[in-house]
Symmetry: D2
Amino acid sequence: MMSDYSRKQLQEEKVFKDPVHRYVHVRDQVIWDLVKTKEFQRLRRIKQLGTLYLAFHSAEHSRFNHSLGVYEIVRRMIENFEEYPEWNNDDRLLALAAALLHDLGHGPFSHTFEDIFHTDHEEYTRKIILENTEVNAVLSKVSPDFPREVAEVINKTHPNKLVISMISSQIDADRMDYLQRDSYYTGVSYGTFDMERILRVMRPSKDEVLIKESGMHAVEDYLMSRYQMYWQVYFHPVSRGGEVMLNLVMQRAKALYKSDYSFKQQPTYFIPFFNENVTVHDYLRLDEMVVNFYLQEWVQEDDEILSDLAGRFVNRDLFKYLPFDGSIITISELNELYKKAGIDPDYYVFSDSYSDLPYDYDRPGQNRNRRPIHLLRPNGDIREISSQSAIINSITGIHRLGSRLYYPKEKILAIKDLSVKAEIINLLNELD
Amino acid sequence: MMSDYSRKQLQEEKVFKDPVHRYVHVRDQVIWDLVKTKEFQRLRRIKQLGTLYLAFHSAEHSRFNHSLGVYEIVRRMIENFEEYPEWNNDDRLLALAAALLHDLGHGPFSHTFEDIFHTDHEEYTRKIILENTEVNAVLSKVSPDFPREVAEVINKTHPNKLVISMISSQIDADRMDYLQRDSYYTGVSYGTFDMERILRVMRPSKDEVLIKESGMHAVEDYLMSRYQMYWQVYFHPVSRGGEVMLNLVMQRAKALYKSDYSFKQQPTYFIPFFNENVTVHDYLRLDEMVVNFYLQEWVQEDDEILSDLAGRFVNRDLFKYLPFDGSIITISELNELYKKAGIDPDYYVFSDSYSDLPYDYDRPGQNRNRRPIHLLRPNGDIREISSQSAIINSITGIHRLGSRLYYPKEKILAIKDLSVKAEIINLLNELD
Amino acid sequence: MMSDYSRKQLQEEKVFKDPVHRYVHVRDQVIWDLVKTKEFQRLRRIKQLGTLYLAFHSAEHSRFNHSLGVYEIVRRMIENFEEYPEWNNDDRLLALAAALLHDLGHGPFSHTFEDIFHTDHEEYTRKIILENTEVNAVLSKVSPDFPREVAEVINKTHPNKLVISMISSQIDADRMDYLQRDSYYTGVSYGTFDMERILRVMRPSKDEVLIKESGMHAVEDYLMSRYQMYWQVYFHPVSRGGEVMLNLVMQRAKALYKSDYSFKQQPTYFIPFFNENVTVHDYLRLDEMVVNFYLQEWVQEDDEILSDLAGRFVNRDLFKYLPFDGSIITISELNELYKKAGIDPDYYVFSDSYSDLPYDYDRPGQNRNRRPIHLLRPNGDIREISSQSAIINSITGIHRLGSRLYYPKEKILAIKDLSVKAEIINLLNELD
Amino acid sequence: MMSDYSRKQLQEEKVFKDPVHRYVHVRDQVIWDLVKTKEFQRLRRIKQLGTLYLAFHSAEHSRFNHSLGVYEIVRRMIENFEEYPEWNNDDRLLALAAALLHDLGHGPFSHTFEDIFHTDHEEYTRKIILENTEVNAVLSKVSPDFPREVAEVINKTHPNKLVISMISSQIDADRMDYLQRDSYYTGVSYGTFDMERILRVMRPSKDEVLIKESGMHAVEDYLMSRYQMYWQVYFHPVSRGGEVMLNLVMQRAKALYKSDYSFKQQPTYFIPFFNENVTVHDYLRLDEMVVNFYLQEWVQEDDEILSDLAGRFVNRDLFKYLPFDGSIITISELNELYKKAGIDPDYYVFSDSYSDLPYDYDRPGQNRNRRPIHLLRPNGDIREISSQSAIINSITGIHRLGSRLYYPKEKILAIKDLSVKAEIINLLNELD
């Protein structure tokens, strides 16, 4: 049973001015109250694109910014869905809340942190929603079950597959917002597509959002935008290089902690992470501000490696990079050479791989949770999109990969053993 | 004598993708080296608009971002100026470096910090340029005098008034960048004007940049944009409310320090500020990341006022505001009432004033450093712009003022002495 | 009594892709049928901005284009109004139809034609709606009175002042569309303002659309946009020069017709205009295509003046212009000089005046049909906007004027009588 | 030998405000004089996209508009090329003039007219440049050979392959302008790509413009834009339906003329076309204004077919369409049925086909004039682009086809012989 609170409307609609969607509109008291919680406000202190600002200086926007955008897109979806019997308006608040909160558990530089500290932002999203937080208090006022329901939608385990597909699918509010938003903030021309048209051709059905066949070309454009954004923006070598740097500095700090190194400034906020025993409270307070504070502190530490790596990140003095696929030399062979040269390979060479699958779907017997984009024909038939679109067919299932080697050029140039130095330099030249 | 270094060009032009100017172009080794210095990189950790993100969630861009923009505009100015004999291309690097570095001394939330700690960002810009920094090292390689020259341009004391006017005047690269950039990031429609046209009608002259008369309407549009940005964006009550909050929390922290309060986390970075004895090194390391770290720490402090105010800022739980001009009640009368109610007036009520002068110029005998915008007629005559433009004339010299009272509504509602409570509430209602 | 037809909805919403409003949405069968009428389709053959394409080559859009835009804005207004009791939804179709059809009676180059042939586009709008046309047939199916009602709204005589003010007032759908649209097509940066915000702050009241006080700055921006568009775009001397050319060629053709000149191609479509006896049928068939056809024909005519003037318009070989206010020489003195020089002053010199009143309103006792823009305060009070806005106050009632003299420079240079030639050239130089 | 005139610069640069490229810059007297010729001004009276305005109401821009845009892009290309030794600046004016004039021979609704009257716009471009015209006079002043050279570049027979490739290749100024321009005017989101980046990565070489490998993704985006524009915009069924209508009405008029039908208004301008004996003078005077004039005249003709078809075009009362590939019924079978039904199949049924090849190149032995897009690697190697780009590879050589049947629905519904009527309707239903 939903409470009166769940239906409470603001006396006057509130709007957020938004450069991507022009305005974000809020009518529901619940949504307004969620925005005001300290856990949601915390998302202002986490950049949407982590280290990408090191490559695209203008991409400094936060996850708060993006979360409002996803909410707004779902709100507009529902506005269109309301005239179809397949849409049950009782799911409205569930969809809106899940949209708003879908990234609630992201921490600073998620990729790197999850890699090093084995945290999982999806798990913490769930915990923040279900444990003793302001967000949980607001959601619980809707109904005692509501926090669990919201968490299940975000977790993709909720029985309502339609609502899940609005937020998590190959053409969902999350992707539509971030492609446009990241495009807007970086200033690139790639992330544009006609979202208004896509929203107009979306149709609710029992288990998913369908796309009217007449909207196929708009979806083509969206998938191409996505493809370009990945290769032109998200995988930018300088941004990945920033992550590499962070990865190495965090590894070093953790190793020092584990070896009882005595920090000048005790890394209080990090200790639960080093110990891999992180409560929701620990998790929430480690935002980018705090990480940056410690990075600055670490520049002053006596440990040369920690100080050097932290300073490199803070001052954007990143490693150089080269294409690298292990064919000319393996990373372990390189490690050996580093040791001969007296450079610690754990902290001064890094092989970084990345990949993208622009569009794919599970064939019979497959179960990789890749639900197709389905077109709805005028006669009611459903077709998987790549069977109808030559251009989408041409990219379906294509798994593109890339990898690079990161290394500190000036450290290589300073190797004293000239033969080792020459050997390494020759190898790097071959990679180029 | 300028060194060879001053003329050194990059092997290939570097570009920064920029959403406002599309691309920022760098050819000079000096500029490239300046961008890489740690003092310039630090500007990534200072928001261009301070607390404005609390009102416009999307305005999260940094001073780094803006500084590149100002540089790019000056670069384009020079590209146009090169065909005029009034332009001496020996001043090119001076203008570019001064443009790039003009905001180098900004700290976090400058307004508030300068108010409380009596620092002055212009003074620190000068010091960072002239003292022992990476920026100084780069500039000194151009010529031993070059750092001083750059500082004098930024300081408006350099004999070359033309170069100064490119960066600091009523229609300069700084303003043209920030109006467009802040408009882009907030998403408002106000800050648009035809910069390309303004650049085309700018003409270098001995002491200033002149505007060809045919470009008058573009300047009208620019001045109107500026006017609107001030009143619609920069003076937004929620943004000012964030500054009020910061102001109060900094005052409290300083007062506690001065009274030997024992902080749980020693406010190391702040101590030179509390003591008003701030070296360049102290100054540079206190960026927004560090300020936010301490604000989070202070939430945990035992002092109730510090903890409350810090938490309010961190979680955007700001004071309410009302128009206030002191006519219904003075601030000291209000202070008395607060004391009766048992609320500390030093930290829980704040009268905030702001004002803007859209355009003005010094008349004979005046000396307020308000140089007019001058139009250049086809026959070579010079005219002050408001004498030619009805619309500019209508706003010239109009000093618009505003002020607001900030207070914590729920604290007022919780006053136990019912008559004092009623008295305060009645007064606030009268203000509304 | 409204017919069932008046409520008939299209099976599926139709949309027009529109670069200014993104999409124009049509749900009503009546609107759809009106768009399909031949009288409305005819608006595709009339440029929105007449001769402005001669100054701004990209401004080639039609009145059809603009009419759909005005309709769409009124549709959005109503969408917002529907939640207020002051709005009577029975007026919906009336407002939409009047918006769509408000320019129906415009002919080619209206200004010039109305000047020469004493037609009046408002009168013909009325006639097309009320006489035997396809538009009338569609409207009559709504109810027998409906054509008259629509005409009265457009004519500003309908008792429903609220609906009139949506389409014709100092901040109406017509102006909001054309400022943005003309700005888009010319490519200038002036016509931008935040229409979405203005629509959000509009409130229906008994006799007019009110603006919530909080939207005042958006209205300021709109009025400034309007001001700039008039002076920077609509009054452009080359566009006015095109009108001058048309004016003269039409005068010549008419004079020839009146003097029984024998045209090679009988000016059939023009004859009713020359005789000032124009039926709706005559009026409708004279579109820009036809006018241009005759202009091309006239180039072949034996009459030298007609041939010369027509060729000048067709090939954009326009007169030169100078500022002119009659103080240095009067137009009749100039005419005398022309006669001495053997040039016909009726066709080779033209004094063109224009003026704009950015905003004004009738004070008590005045009756110039200038209804103020009214702000609605939170407490329900109404305020005329210039009393609240310094910037609007500064332009209220300012009537700006301009005038120019147009003349064919090469004809002056070819005057044989050297003393007359010198006299004229000296005078023109003085004007410069 | 080039004349002094070829080097003559305007006293002050002229600019055209352009919504797509912001400004079009002209410095050369030759270019300025070419723009002023009557043949170039005539392009204002020819729509860039023919009948597309019937589908996208806002696409009303002219070939004049586009021609300036192509000129401007080539101007910017040259600005970048000037620093490379592979660029010979003696070719500058040739490239600019060819860019400006490349569409000079387009007539109204070229596709249809060329189909019916067997004219060829490329041939007339050549003739206008080489015969007795104002354009020829201007070009001849540069040098006696210059007209021929310009014509050869446009004709792709000039020995300078580099200049040709700037204007006519798979990534040329023509396409880059029209994709962006048509996107701007229709308002669709498809035609956007980063032209500024493409210009930056273009490198002149002996025989063609090369693309620096680092710009590959921008080219991908451009090719995808092109692909989408063809299928979403240029092949729009309503636009093609307008061409069908024109085709039929022109065929009818020609047939009537050939059978000595007595027109009320003699179709003077059309007679050379009907006789397929069209001089440059005849060709130039038949612009869209004239065509529309005659179409309106023909509505009044006694011939019912001519009158009906002309009226349908003028009032946008187009045929319906269905997908059609000849598999269910052939067009000749359909013609037979039409005859039984008493409807003339020559004028009331039309099978329309269209196709697009997004990218392709000639393999060894092929000679279809499809020159590849070549990437330039840092080491100087050249690579055909589809060998480097997975996404381009996926569309290379894919020839997409479409075809539709156009017919007048209400005429079918009015067939009196009920069995024939039923047969036709059943067939059409099968097509659907």
